[in-house]
């Protein structure tokens, strides 16, 4: 009986896929195994990498598995790059993105009501970086665009899925917070889609 080196195969697939990553479904499909078994193979591979002195590890990002360099070597990788200034998002863009992440789908007007300032420019920046996209039109007059986050958003912030976002810091104790319920509903819906 031949023993198949599943982990080795999966590893080679991830290497080829690069930053596109591979979903569990894709891996299971190529290996011709059930997703449950693919999950076990991947978990074991993740384990192997984290216990070794190698410079690479497997992470789950935006619903895909990717090979990435280990964080502790980032200083050396930066030396490869001419200008190691990692361009990060502005405060305005981050606030806008936080609101969209937790309240999606949401219109520009609703975002501006929360922030108390005009938000056109941050929205343009975020769209250009493919971190948000228009996900539809609101009901009612004007049919304003509704914004939501993208897969790129999950990848950019190192998230497996939208549920991995920590719950909103909630300091409102006595008031009943209907938004919290909405958010719960929203995440439940997401989980249904995922499973």
């Amino acid at each position: 009986m031949e023993i198949i080196n599943w982990k080795g195969i999966a590893e080679s697939l991830l290497f080829a896929a690069g930053d596109e990553g591979l979903s569990l479904k894709q891996i299971a499909h190529v290996l011709e195994v059930e997703e449950l078994q693919a999950r076990e193979i991947m978990d074991s591979l993740i384990e192997d990498y984290s216990n070794s002195s190698r410079g690479i590890m497997v992470v789950e990002l935006a619903g895909t598995f990717q090979l990435v360099t280990k964080k502790e070597f980032s200083a050396y990788l930066k030396k490869l790059v001419e200008s190691p200034s990692s361009a990060s998002l502005s405060q305005a863009a981050l606030e806008t993105l936080a609101i969209i992440a937790y309240r999606q789908p949401i219109t520009r007007t609703e975002i501006e009501e929360i922030r108390g300032v005009k938000t056109e420019r941050p929205l343009q920046t975020l769209s250009a970086k493919a971190l948000i996209k228009e996900v539809g039109r609101a009901e009612g007059t004007g049919r304003a665009y509704l914004y939501g986050t993208t897969k790129e958003f999950l990848d950019y912030f190192g998230l497996k899925s939208i549920e991995e976002l920590p719950p909103l810091p909630d300091k409102i104790s006595e008031e009943e917070d209907s938004f919290q319920e909405e958010a719960d509903l929203f995440f439940e819906k997401f989980q249904e889609l995922d499973s």
């Binding site: 080829a16 001419e82 990692s86 936080a98 970086k129 993208t150 950019y156 909103l168």
Partner: protein
Amino acid sequence: MQYDHYNVKIDAFEGPLDLLLHLINRLEIDIYDIPVSEITEQYLIYIHTMKELQLDVASEYLVMAATLLAIKSKMLLPKHDEEELEDEFGMEMEEDPRDELVERLIEYRKYKEAAEELKEREQDRSLMYTKPPADLSEYVNDSQQEKADLNVSLYDMLGALQKLLRRKKLQRPLSAKVARQEIPIEKRMSEIVDQLRNFKGRKKFTDLFPISDREHIVVTFLAVLELIKRKEILVEQDRNFSDIFVASMEGEK
């Protein structure tokens, strides 16, 4: 000495709500019991300072100043009986003129904190590097070339561009001369069309970006979008891998 062109832009605050939160923190005030007179005074001092520095005070700041003054004057008025409201629990509550503002401040503060969290994650994620997918096209046989019903959206294109820019960052040479030259989009468009016609097949989207120069990348991207719009090139995406391919529309005249 002329200071006319010397514009300072204070980005310290993200707007009036941000400024108010800052004042509340600094004065160590209970957000649920804001001393309106004090906070209004402090707020106006800040606005005046901005004006003295000849900064553009955004209109939102002025609206908030007016709001604060309105709340302040309402607090001074004697209460009317008919202003008592019933909330959804049927309990009688007196309306506090500050309520709405407090609610907005608390709501905004939640997202401000969430933004901090995102910032940390962004930093953490930037420590991990990846590589572009390997080019496996030589193993593709014709039967696999069949495409799914395509619908490459602008967002797919933008996503592809984002990945490209991220990769180009790593491929940049350690030293580079900066030579600024404006490339007209029209010129780049005809270059791309020629390139694809001569190629007689489809090229990877990422192969259209030979030069790791931001300006060149952006111009190329705009040229590609324009060509798609004019239906001079075809964009395709395969089922399995989300790499985007482009090909020339061999004109059926």
